[in-house]
């Protein structure tokens, strides 16, 4: 599904960048642009970071 409508970023892309190491909302934004315009999807992205971060990155996750 499209999570970030401003930048047309899908959940698949967001999941991929998280699995590739983006461990915060800010890192996801840098990696794929999601959440950089109106910011409404940031909450959803934060949940996705929590769910999909590789185990070793987990403790660094969330709002950074």
């Amino acid at each position: 599904m499209w999570i970030c409508l401003c930048e047309a970023v899908t959940s698949t892309t967001i999941r991929e960048v998280i699995e590739d190491g983006a461990a915060s909302v800010g890192a996801v934004a840098e990696a794929c642009g999601a959440g950089t315009v109106c910011g409404k999807c940031k909450r959803t992205i934060a949940v996705m970071v929590d769910q999909h971060s590789p185990a070793e990155k987990k403790r660094f996750a969330r709002w950074r």
Partner: protein, 159 residues
Amino acid sequence: MALKSSGTPVVKALNGLLTTELRAINQYFLDSKLAAHHGFEHLAEEFRKASFEEMNDAEELMDRILLLGGLPNLQRVDAFATGESITEQFQLAKELEEKAVGQLKAAIVTAEKAADPGTATMLREMLLEEERQVDWIEGQLGLITTLGDTAYLAQQIRS
């Protein structure tokens, strides 16, 4: 004229519902246009109808809020996602409608507590409508499961 959107619990509840309606208008409108873009004219028409029905609801809520001395908050719109496939669109629509139904039930209780049967009656009618919408969405998801994506979508091409 002093209008206060944050006024009474009833106005707050109505503004909460309005936020959800505004999201629904946009979500269904985008669903409709995406369906049309992919050639599913029939489905596009259904989503378009849903979007317009939500707009009628939004209008009723706004009128009621104003009547109660509140200011309708059109600035706050919930974030939403839209499906990349028709099935995903229906799943997200179901989530949205379930949220609306829960919110309506809570708002009816609030209106009754505030001895405001007028608002409660209006909300009851909206609740029935939303429940029918949930039923329709569940029906479509059921059809997709029974028929498979291809057979279901083949029925959605013509308007």
